[in-house]
Subunit: 497 residues, 2 copies
C-alpha cells in the first residue's frame, strides 16, 4: 500500500504543479494580458489543460487508485481524503469523453458571445436558443455523471460535494420564508439616508489603504499580491503564492475595500492550508460553500459590523484626512438595504433571495419543469414576489449573470451556503472571542485568524464540508444563526418593532 | 513530404505554445512573483521544461525530421528554415542526456548562490573552485556538441549560429585596435561636464513618459506591456504578447528611458515577426546578435543622437515642465564617455572593450589556456591595458557579471556583434531615411520601423544572421561602420583633432 500511496502522491504532485501554470495563465489573463494576446493565450490554456487532463486519466494506471479506494479504511485521515478527492476528479474525468469536453467548451465560448450581445441589446430572445442547447448539454452531463433522486444533484455535487436538492429545498425555503417578510418590514419604513460619498480618493492612496487592511486581517502579502481586475477574484498559484484582486472607484473608497476584504477572506483561508495538502490536491477549501463562508465572514459578519467599521474609519483617515463621514455614517452607508435588480450590487439581507431565485429556476430547467422561453416571465415574477421589484429589462433581469452562458449550473447555491455557514461559524467563534462584538483591535483580528485556522483552514479539504462544519460548530448546517444575525442587526439599524 | 511537414508543424506548434507558459512563468518571476512563491515556482518551471524537452526529443519520431533535413533542398525557404531550426534544437536536445542537463542545472543553482556570496564579500577565491567545476562541465558540453577548429565555437554557435572564433578574432581585434587609442584621446582631453540631474521625477509620471516614448518608436502596447524589473528584459509570451520591462530612478528620468528604448527595440523586432513563423519556432530574431542590433540601434544610434534627444526633450517637458536641462545638456549627459569598471554602466564607446575582455578570457578558459585561479590577475591587467583603469576589488572586476555563474559561456560576444550590426544596418537605412540625421519627427520613426520591418523583422529566423545582414546591407559583417560612427560622433563631441 505504501508504494501505491507514494506513486499516487507523485502523480498528484505533478498535476498540481503543472496546473499551477494554468492558474498563472488565468490570473494573467484577468489582470495583465495585453488585449491582442487573448487568442494565443487560449491555445496555451487548452494545451496545458490537455496535459493535466491526460495525467488525470492516468491516475489509476496499474489500478493503484481503485485499489487505494478499496483499502481506504486502512489509510490515515489525510491519505484517505487524498484518495477520495483524487478518485472524484479521476472518475469525473473518465466519464466525460474528450469529444464531450470539446463540445462543451465550444458551446460555452459561442454561448458566452451570444450572451454578451443579447445583454447589450437587452433582448433575451436572442439568447434563448443557445441557452436551450446549453441546458441540453448540461442534462447530458448529468446523465454521464449519474445521480440519485434529482438530476440537479449531479451538478451541485461538483461544487459542493454532498449537497442535494432535498437538503437545499429545506434550507432555502426556510431562508426565503424569513427574508421576504423581513425585507418588507424594512422597506415599509421608507428610510432614506444620504449614502453618497463626497470627494475624490486617489487610487494610489487607496491601493496603500487596501494593502494595509489586507495586512491587518492577516492576509500575507509576501505570499500573495493585490492587483486590479474587472471582477475581483482569488487564485492559488502555489502554496505560498495566493493572489487576490480588487477594483477601485475614485469617488468611493468603500467600493474597493469590501471587494478586497472579501477576497482577503478567501486568500487567508487558502494561505492557511498546509503545503503538504496542496501538493496532493487537498489544499483547497473543503467546498466552494465553505470557502465562501470565509470570504463572507470577513466581508459581512466582521467587515460590516460597527466595531470593525470604527477601526476601518481610522485607516481611511490615515490616507484621506479630509474624509467627512463618521463611523456611524459609514455603518449606515455600508449596511443600507435596498431591494434591487442586480445580485452583485445587493446588500447582505436581500442577497440570498437573488440566489434562491436562481436555484429554483436552475433546478427546474435541469429537470425540464421550466422551458427556456418561459425564463424572463418566471424570473420577473419571482423578483416581484420575493423582492417586490419590477424588472424593467432583461439585461437587469435574467441576462445579468455570466454563469449560465459558461455552463456553470449548480454553482449559485454555494454563495448562500457560504452565507449560512459564515453566520454559524461566527456565532461559535464569538464565544471564544467576544470582543469581536465590542471593540476590535489588531490583536482581535489575529485571534480571529488563529481561530479560523484552528477550526477550518488547517484542515484544507481533509473533511467533507458538512463534517468540517459539525466539528467546528457542534452541529450540521443551521440557518437560524444567519436569520438571527440579520434580524438582530437590521431590526436595530432600521428601528423595527 | 507534405504530410511530414504537417506533422512537424503540429509538433512544433505544441512545443511553442506550451513554452509560452514557461515564458509567462519567467516574466512573472522577474516582475510580480511574491517573495515566498519562489520555491514552488521552481517546481512548476522544471515540470513545464521537462514536458517541452520530452516533446523536443519526439520531433523526429517516425524519422520525419531527419527525412525532411535530407529533402530540405526541395522545401520553400520558410519550411527549410523551420526544418533547420527544429533539427538544431532536436540535435542539441539529444546530445545532452537527462542526467547531464540535471547536473548542469544543479551546478548552476549552486554556483549562482556561491557567486552572490563571493561578490558580496568581494572575494574571488570563494568562487574559484565552483567556477572551475562550471568550466569543466562547459568543456563536457563542448565535447557532446562537437566542434570544428576551436572548442569555444560550440558554445558561440548556440547563441550566434554560424559565428566562430576565427571570425570573431579578426572582428574584435580590429575593434580593439581602434577603440583603445581612441578612448585614450578622449580621456586625455580631461573634459568634465556637469552630468547630474536636478529635481525629483515622480515614477507615476515617468511611467507615462516611458509609455509615450515606446509608443512613438512603434512598440505596440496593445500587444505588449511595460512593467518594472531589477534587470530590464524583453520576453515573447505569444505572437501578440511581447512584454518589456524597465526600472526607474526618482532622481533621473534618463535612467529608465534608455532601458525602455533598448527593450523597446527588442520588442518592436519580435512584434514584427509574422505569427506563422512564431507557430513553427522561427519567430524569434535571426540570432542574439541581430536581436541586439535592433535594441542597440534604438538605444544608441537613434536614441543617443542629437535629433532624437531634441524630440525626447519635448516629451520630458510634457511631464516635467520644470526640467532644467536643454537638449544640448542632455546630449552631453547621455553621451558622456568615462572608462569605468562596470560593463552595464558603460557608455557606447567603452562598452565593446568590456565585451572583448570577456571574449578573450572565455575563449582561453574553454581551451584551457587560462587557469581559473589566474582570472582576477588576467582581468585586472586587461582592464588596465584596454581601459586604463585600476580595478579596486573583485566585485567591481571579475565578479561583476551573473553570466558565468549560470553557465552562459559564449553569450557575451553577441552584445558586440549587435553593436557592429547596428551601425552597419543604420548606415544603410540612412540612405533611405536621411532625415534621421537632421530632424526626427514621428513620421521619421514610422519610416524607421517600416524600413527595419522590410529588411530585418519580417524574416524572423528564416535567414541565418550573416545572410540576413548581407541581404539588408549588401555585405557581410563589417566593423568599419561602427568605428566611423564612433569616431565621427565623439570627435565632434570631444573636439578631437
Amino acid at each position: 500500500m505504501d508504494s501505491k500511496l507514494k506513486t499516487l502522491k507523485k502523480r498528484l504532485y505533478e498535476i498540481k504543479y503543472i496546473s499551477s501554470a494554468s492558474s498563472l495563465l488565468h490570473w494573467d489573463s484577468e489582470v495583465y494580458l495585453p488585449q491582442n494576446g487573448v487568442s494565443s493565450r487560449a491555445i496555451t490554456n487548452s494545451l496545458i489543460d490537455e496535459i493535466c487532463h491526460k495525467k488525470l486519466l492516468k491516475l489509476d494506471d496499474g489500478n493503484i487508485l481503485t485499489d487505494l479506494v478499496n483499502e481506504s479504511s486502512n489509510l490515515s485521515l489525510e491519505d484517505a481524503a487524498m484518495v477520495r478527492e483524487a478518485f472524484r476528479n479521476f472518475d469525473k474525468g473518465r466519464k466525460f469523453s474528450n469529444s464531450f469536453v470539446k463540445r462543451l467548451s465550444i458551446l460555452s465560448t459561442k454561448s458566452h458571445h451570444v450572451w454578451i450581445d443579447a445583454r447589450k441589446k437587452k433582448d433575451f430572445s436572442m439568447y434563448s436558443k443557445i441557452l436551450g442547447e446549453m441546458i441540453d448539454i448540461q442534462k447530458e452531463a448529468v446523465d454521464l455523471l449519474g445521480y440519485e433522486d434529482h438530476p440537479y444533484n449531479a451538478l451541485i455535487d461538483d461544487y459542493e460535494p454532498g449537497m442535494t436538492v432535498s437538503k437545499l429545498d429545506t434550507i432555502f425555503n426556510g431562508l426565503r420564508d424569513f427574508l421576504v417578510p423581513f425585507i418588507r418590514k424594512i422597506t415599509d419604513k421608507k428610510v432614506s439616508w444620504n449614502i453618497t460619498m463626497d470627494g475624490k480618493f486617489s487610487v494610489l492612496k487607496q491601493k496603500k489603504l487596501n494593502r494595509d487592511i489586507l495586512d491587518i486581517l492577516g492576509y500575507d502579502l509576501s505570499s500573495g499580491r493585490l492587483d486590479i481586475s474587472t471582477h475581483p477574484f482569488t487564485v492559488e498559484i502555489g502554496p505560498h503564492d495566493v493572489r487576490v484582486t480588487t477594483r477601485y472607484s475614485p469617488n468611493d473608497p468603500i467600493y474597493a475595500l469590501y471587494s478586497s476584504i472579501h477576497e482577503g477572506g478567501h486568500g487567508i483561508y487558502t494561505q492557511g492550508v498546509p503545503v503538504e495538502y496542496f501538493d496532493v490536491g487537498i489544499g483547497h477549501g473543503a467546498s466552494l460553500g465553505v470557502h465562501e463562508s470565509q470570504s463572507r465572514m470577513y466581508e459581512n459578519l466582521l467587515g460590516r459590523s460597527l466595531p470593525f467599521i470604527k477601526l476601518l474609519h481610522g485607516y481611511i483617515l490615515k490616507y484621506f484626512p479630509d474624509f467627512t463621514k463618521t463611523p456611524d455614517d459609514l455603518y449606515r452607508i455600508i449596511n443600507h438595504v435596498t431591494p434591487g435588480y442586480i445580485r452583485t450590487e445587493s446588500d447582505e439581507v436581500t442577497y440570498n433571495l437573488h440566489i434562491i431565485i436562481r436555484y429554483e429556476i436552475e433546478k427546474k430547467l435541469i429537470s425540464g419543469d421550466i422551458k427556456v422561453t418561459e425564463l424572463p416571465e418566471v424570473w420577473n415574477s419571482k423578483m416581484k414576489e420575493y423582492l417586490g421589484v419590477d424588472v424593467p429589462s432583461d439585461d437587469l433581469g435574467v441576462l445579468q449573470d455570466v454563469h449560465w452562458s459558461l455552463g456553470s449550473f449548480g454553482y449559485f447555491p454555494t454563495y448562500s451556503i457560504g452565507n449560512i455557514y459564515s453566520a454559524q461559524i461566527y456565532n461559535t467563534m464569538l464565544k471564544d472571542i467576544p470582543e469581536l462584538k465590542e471593540v476590535i483591535s489588531l490583536d482581535t483580528l489575529k485571534s480571529m485568524k488563529a481561530w479560523l485556522y484552528e477550526h477550518i483552514h488547517k484542515y484544507g479539504r481533509v473533511y467533507m464540508a458538512e463534517d468540517l462544519i459539525k466539528n467546528a460548530t457542534g452541529e450540521g448546517m443551521n440557518t437560524s444563526y444567519f436569520n438571527s444575525y440579520i434580524e438582530e442587526k437590521y431590526s436595530k439599524l432600521y428601528n423595527l418593532v
